[in-house]
Symmetry: none
Subunit: 414 residues, 2 copies
């Protein structure tokens, strides 16, 4: 089953956005058994769209198209699709209801442009958009399935997950397929590769391994294909168990876990509460924690102590500690953590202080130096990290991840 | 001058990496006056590469190709290029010296595979690779220039900046080109389109407009091309002024501005300081503010008051206010803002309390209901937002953006 992904939008061709839709769709299609043979990006240009649709007709099993379905005049995909498939626009009552309710919820009037969204091709299958106004459309021509989806990434992803994935599995006879993800933090890519070299070498040919690094984290993805699904599942499980014994302390979760959800579950299961004292991260740890619905069951809040004045006046860090050791030191982060734990009356507290950059580094404490402390009723521990990164955003992200991971390891001990 | 970007590599088609090379090159080419009409990604597949090169010959002025130039067996681009341009491999002494010095610096021996990198096409211009081993190659066929570069992003970027950019400017007579971005928040895409319909309709044909929405924000991009650069600049400026008078309150910046940097600059210029009281956003506003290097000049920090207990005990919100009006109310956010401003001794304070979802909504206060307050020495104002969004992450992001925007408007008044 060969597939082509076509992303449409002037903004992709001028490089103003990175085309994440194409990568996301390529990964999802590969997972369910398609072979993506080409990705094409073209502008909001009628001729280019028509030429691309024509070129793909009868050549590939599936063409996924994103972008240009919006109601504004620069969204020409819709018009080009109607011309190419010789469609008549008909108003779809279900789509109109969705658009109406979408605008109502936002307290906005229904404009003519909004109403236009409900005009779908008479010869397409309509794919609902639960979180936006532009529906998807499924066409067929000379044995090729064409699916047009909105270009807004979260709308497209929701549509794919809720509807299109199922429709594709139903329409195409796709091979059996298992995907598992192992989520790691606290280890670099090349060091990880060394640690698991032998395991990787001994993987059976039915299992393919990929390394997917992101700032502060690595995902190992195992993609397995075989006729015998039961045997394949057993093989994958057995390989995961081997990996778990090789690198236990770096694995924080599997598949769709997130670090913040794993930590949250641990706090909740142990009946413990958490507070934060954030300096260089400025709220990044809190932001991650509240990603998880229901975080209020264990998260009371925290203090963003960006200036030293707040570290002293609100968190009670002694001036002498800041004076003698500096804001980025074991002594300061420990005092910050203990201060916020007392103020917020929680079981655990985490504190971070570091130099995110690009300025502020010294020979002794270069940019990327970050101290993190975890405290509980029983003890306070602190660790120094050297992210060695010049990028402010990445240093902040890596600090927040390292802080949550240190907390995870502390709770694991009890 | 039309250009096509071709990125080659199996890893792009399986979605295991996001193709940042294509976006980077598209932005650079647009900046120097090329119109990128298409981006294509194909696998390490000889047939697909040959077919793509053939398809582009004589059709476009420039084809930039990245990837597959390495010495390993899965890098087939090089071989396909040699076949397509009917080239004979010749050893280039300068490239060989670069490869030798590259390996020497790393204390590694020169292998046969490394030596192969110095074999370039007899009918190409060689483009040096100062930081890697694979050189670039510049070919010409039937009026189309083809340039092949390595796929490693920093090698490709260095090669483009140091050599290719200059070579392109020398070879092509590039037209004048202006790109301006207008950054907006607080308005939906279709409502914006209605508001500026007449202005958009009256834009001269030399100016192209695109809408680029992201959660809570919209970017309007004007791309202008004309022979006469001075006249074009004047025309663009005049159009921007017209737009500014049409929708002044939604525009927070231009081009590479960010909302947090704009607000930070205003605070800094007025010599004012800021603190935050975040409930549902959990640190998201602080996280945005510390994006800006040097934020410590105006940002003292804040309190993440996720639980009501913290709103009462740390921020001093009266229990009766929470009891009578609830946590998501004008009265509570005003008390939170005033409480943190006093505690942190700042000129301004911003407070947010809302229902991020997916749970916790009621008929009266559905998911997406958010109250935001801004307080200063002079006054406290609050506004209610109904984001009408079921997605927790987006509600948090939109709340943080709306909070910064409310602060921006408050400072603007002084």
């Amino acid at each position: 089953m060969k597939a082509v992904i076509v992303t449409i939008g002037d903004e992709i061709l001028t490089g103003h956005i990175v085309d994440t839709n194409a990568a996301w769709l390529a990964a999802r299609l590969s997972e369910i058994g398609f072979e993506v043979i080409k990705k094409i990006s073209i502008g909001d240009d009628r001729e280019a769209i028509m030429a691309t649709l024509k070129e793909m007709t009868g050549v590939t099993s599936l063409v996924l198209i994103t972008g240009g379905l919006g109601p504004t005049p620069d969204d020409v995909t819709r018009k080009a699709l109607f011309d190419f498939f010789e469609s008549t626009p008909v108003e779809d009552p279900a789509v109109l209801r969705q658009v109406q309710s979408f605008m109502e919820k936002r307290g906005r009037p229904l404009t003519d442009l909004n109403r236009k969204q409900a005009l779908v091709a008479h010869n397409c299958k309509v794919i609902p958009n639960n979180i936006g106004t532009a529906p998807g459309m499924w066409f067929e021509k000379r044995g090729t399935i064409f699916v047009a989806m909105p270009g807004v990434p979260f709308e497209m992803q929701e549509m794919f997950n809720s509807y299109l994935q199922g429709m594709l599995k139903e329409h195409f006879a796709l091979p059996s397929f298992i995907v598992r993800q192992v989520l790691l933090t606290g280890i670099g890519e090349s060091f990880l590769a060394e640690e698991i070299k032998q395991w990787e070498k001994n993987l059976p040919p039915s299992i393919h391994l990929s390394y997917l690094p992101s700032p502060g984290m690595i995902t190992l993805r195992l993609t397995a294909r075989d006729e015998n699904r039961d045997a394949l599942e057993q093989e994958v499980e057995s390989q995961l168990r081997k990996l778990q014994t090789l690198i236990p302390s770096y694995i924080y979760g599997y598949d769709n876990d997130t670090l913040e959800a794993v930590v949250g579950r641990m706090l909740w299961e142990h009946g413990k509460t958490l507070s934060l004292a954030e300096s260089c991260t400025g709220g990044a740890i809190g932001r991650m924690i509240v990603n998880v619905p229901g975080a209020s069951r264990y998260f009371k809040g925290g203090v963003i102590a960006y200036s030293n004045e707040i570290k002293i006046n609100v968190l009670g860090v002694p001036e002498s500690v800041l004076g003698n050791f500096g804001a980025v030191s074991r002594e300061t982060v420990c005092a910050m953590a203990e201060g916020v734990r007392k103020l917020f009356d929680t079981d655990y507290a985490v504190a971070v202080s570091g130099i995110a950059g690009p300025e502020g580094g010294t020979e002794e404490k270069p940019v990327g130096t970050v101290w993190i402390a975890v405290t509980s009723k029983e003890e306070t521990t602190a660790e120094k990290f050297s992210f060695g990164d010049d990028d402010r955003q990445r240093n902040i992200t890596k600090s927040a991840i390292a802080a949550l991971n240190l907390l995870r390891k502390s709770i694991q001990i009890i």
